[in-house]
């Protein structure tokens, strides 16, 4: 048993090394394709676009490790964006509107969690439902209108640069990475997460509070979505009902690319961060190299299929 886990650990480690290798190869290829790519300005600026997906991917990693999934994150982002924008437009002071938005995100996540744990429904089905529900609410509340007359300081979350080069949201992301990484790899809660993914029933009988852990995870991703929504809304300086639409796919892609198994039980924060960076690098590099958007989608699709294939290959080898 201990020998097997040791091998497993080594495999996980090597998976991240491979991803790092891919990232480095990508950086080299992209810099050959476009002389504009490998500049500090460009690389730092790129980070402005992956923070939102990255924050949600952190939460999604833990959820996927438990064998669950949350398809509603993009819709939830729209809901929070609308909640912030329209409560502000209705004269709530902006700091309070932001807090309100975070609460809405958390509540939406909790709502998912309650359905999944207490009614014992499959997360795919529940979040497919709330995907539509949150989107509908966001459209309904905003009535397809947009709010964009925010005060200048609101730009801090999504448009500010520290020392003129480092995007402000990068700090929020790094902090979140450290916190979630500590939770997953250094706490009992983190061990519970893996235990549930490996065998939920066994975890339950060995005293893991499965429901509470899952509730915390779905609420937690709701809170991360809330943070992502504030950054997103600030970046485009507009609250709209269609914000974040489709982002759930980017989030899940990054996590899967990062090596988390959709069957549960495995996945790391390091892998996810690399997955996020690889997708962001590829997107940015292809744009700079003048590859049309339609082909970028194709390349990303190939990348994901290869990643899933490799993961499956890997998983079978482990067994």
């Amino acid at each position: 048993m201990s020998a097997a886990t040791a091998v497993l650990r080594r495999l996980k480690f090597s998976r991240e090394v491979v991803l790092l290798g891919v990232l480095i190869v990508l950086l080299v290829v992209m810099s050959l394709l476009s002389p504009l790519f490998l500049t500090v300005g460009n690389l730092l600026n790129t980070s402005r676009f992956f923070v939102e997906v990255g924050l949600m991917a952190l939460g999604m990693t833990l959820i996927i490790i438990t064998g669950g999934i949350d398809l509603s994150v993009g819709s939830n982002l729209a809901l929070v964006s609308v909640a912030v924008g329209f409560s502000y437009a209705a004269d709530l002071p902006l700091p309070l509107a932001i807090v309100f938005g975070l609460v809405v995100g958390l509540a939406a996540g909790l709502f998912n969690g309650l359905f999944i744990t207490f009614l014992d429904l499959h997360p795919l089905v529940v979040t497919l439902g709330t995907f539509a529900l949150f989107q509908g609410l966001a459209y309904g509340l905003s009535r397809a209108e947009a709010v964009s007359d925010f005060p200048a300081w609101f730009a801090y979350f999504g448009q500010a640069y520290f020392l003129n080069v480092v995007p402000g949201q990068l700090f929020i992301f790094i902090l979140a990475v450290v916190v979630v990484w500590l939770i997953l790899s250094r706490t009992r809660f983190g061990r519970y997460v893996y235990a549930i993914g490996n065998n939920e029933e066994a975890a339950h009988f060995s005293g893991v509070p499965v429901r509470r852990v899952k509730l915390a995870l779905y609420s937690g991703i709701g809170l991360l979505v809330g943070m992502a929504a504030v950054i997103y809304t600030s970046r485009v300086y507009t609250a709209r009902g269609d914000s974040g639409l489709g982002l759930e796919l980017d989030v899940i892609s990054a996590v899967v690319l990062g090596g988390a198994s959709i069957y549960g039980g495995s996945g790391t924060i390091g892998g996810t961060v690399l997955g996020v960076l690889i997708i962001a690098t590829l997107r940015n590099g292809l744009v700079l190299a003048g590859v049309p958007s339609t082909w970028q989608v194709f390349v990303l699709g190939v990348l994901l299929l290869v990643a899933v294939f490799l993961n499956e290959f890997f998983r079978r080898r482990e067994e």
């Binding site: 676009f49 507009t238 709209r240 700079l288």
Partner: protein, 342 residues
């Protein structure tokens, strides 16, 4: 055990390398002119539609390429694959890094693109919008395809021709709040009041850009109101829906149908006789004009008033100091529809 681990590692690295090569060859193969050199030509115009992959914006691309060739400038024509403002704003920011001389966008949201467009301007890039404007302070010029007034008036004139300038009409819109549709409706009512007092809009129904819904709404309305003289469909989905409904009810020739849509969508209805004429602007010319404007901005000779000389389009009007007008709307009929493919 460790032997098989290494095997796995080698296979993974090999596959991923292969993948990266696919990505790389894609990039080189697609746009060889941008693969190597420094900045390419001295002038680079980056132009963004609301989304790529639909006939309307493919038509604009055709015109844009034509103009780029005439003017000998480098053109990058790309946009998101979905009509989303946030994706556009992201691409604009990446274009700033790509050293575009001018950026011209068809905005999915006037405000959401503003921060990125202002940033482009700060970076010394000439900014403009076409097809759908961004916030005024976030661009230098707007290339307008047709004024609300010209569209509204033309629609009513076309309809009046077919109904002797009188009757009650149904309007099928996209949504009741869409700003352009609201503005067109206002101008249509204005035109009726001034020139055709015996024409009136009896009802405005939202088709929600859903073809089937548009068909149902029109059918039901025509059954309940047999005295309806005609139907306006004022979006590219509402018009074919209205025409289809009239056809299904067998009312061709009795109920007149006109509105705004694209030629390829409307060809079958012109042939069946359900629609005689309909209105739109020419998106090929719009793309052509937008590139000419961006080029003039880079060269620093964009006029503030009077007219602007735009290649084969000749002189086009400056209707404000920061707004160029493509011209009067284009009326499509059996006579000219075969000249257009979008």
């Amino acid at each position: 055990m460790s032997g098989s681990t290494w095997g796995v590692k080698i296979v993974r690295v090999a596959l991923l390398m292969a993948l990266v090569l696919v990505a790389a060859s894609c990039g080189v193969g697609q746009q060889p002119s941008q693969g190597g050199g420094g900045g390419g030509g001295p002038k680079k115009i980056c132009m963004m539609p609301k989304l790529v992959g639909i006939p309307y914006f493919n038509a604009s691309e055709k015109g844009a390429e034509e103009a780029a060739k005439d003017l000998d400038v480098e053109l990058v024509y790309d946009g998101p694959t979905e009509a989303k403002a946030a994706l556009q704003s992201q691409m604009i920011e990446q274009w700033i890094q790509q050293q575009c001389g001018a950026i011209s966008v068809a905005a999915n949201d006037p405000d959401a693109l503003a921060p990125a467009m202002k940033k482009a301007e700060d970076a010394g890039i000439k900014t403009s919008s076409w097809d759908a404007d961004v916030a005024k302070d976030a661009r230098e010029v707007f290339v307008n395809q047709a004024t609300f007034e010209a569209i509204g008036y033309e629609l009513v004139d076309v309809m009046a021709e077919q109904t002797d300038g009188k009757g009650k009409f149904l309007v099928v819109t996209g949504s009741l709040t869409a700003p352009n549709q609201v503005a067109w409706l206002k101008e249509m009512r204005e035109r009726m009041k001034e020139k055709y007092p015996e024409m009136s809009i009896a009802s405005v129904e939202p088709g929600e850009e859903d073809l089937q819904l548009g068909i149902d709404i029109t059918k039901n309305y025509l059954r309940a109101n047999p005295d309806t003289a005609g139907v306006f469909g004022i979006t590219s989905v509402a018009l074919p829906g209205a025409a289809e409904a009239v056809e299904q009810e067998g009312l061709e020739g009795e109920v007149a149908v006109t509105g705004l849509s694209t030629p390829n969508d409307m060809k079958p209805y012109l042939e069946s006789g359900a629609v005689e004429k309909f209105v739109l602007w020419n998106p090929v010319d719009l793309g052509y004009l937008a590139v000419h404007v961006a080029n003039a901005q880079i060269e620093g000779n964009m006029p503030k008033s009077g007219t602007f000389e735009a290649g084969r389009l000749g002189k086009v009007e400056m209707i404000a100091e920061d707004e160029v007008l493509l011209g009067p709307p284009l009326v499509f009929s059996q006579d000219n529809i075969d000249e257009y493919d979008f």
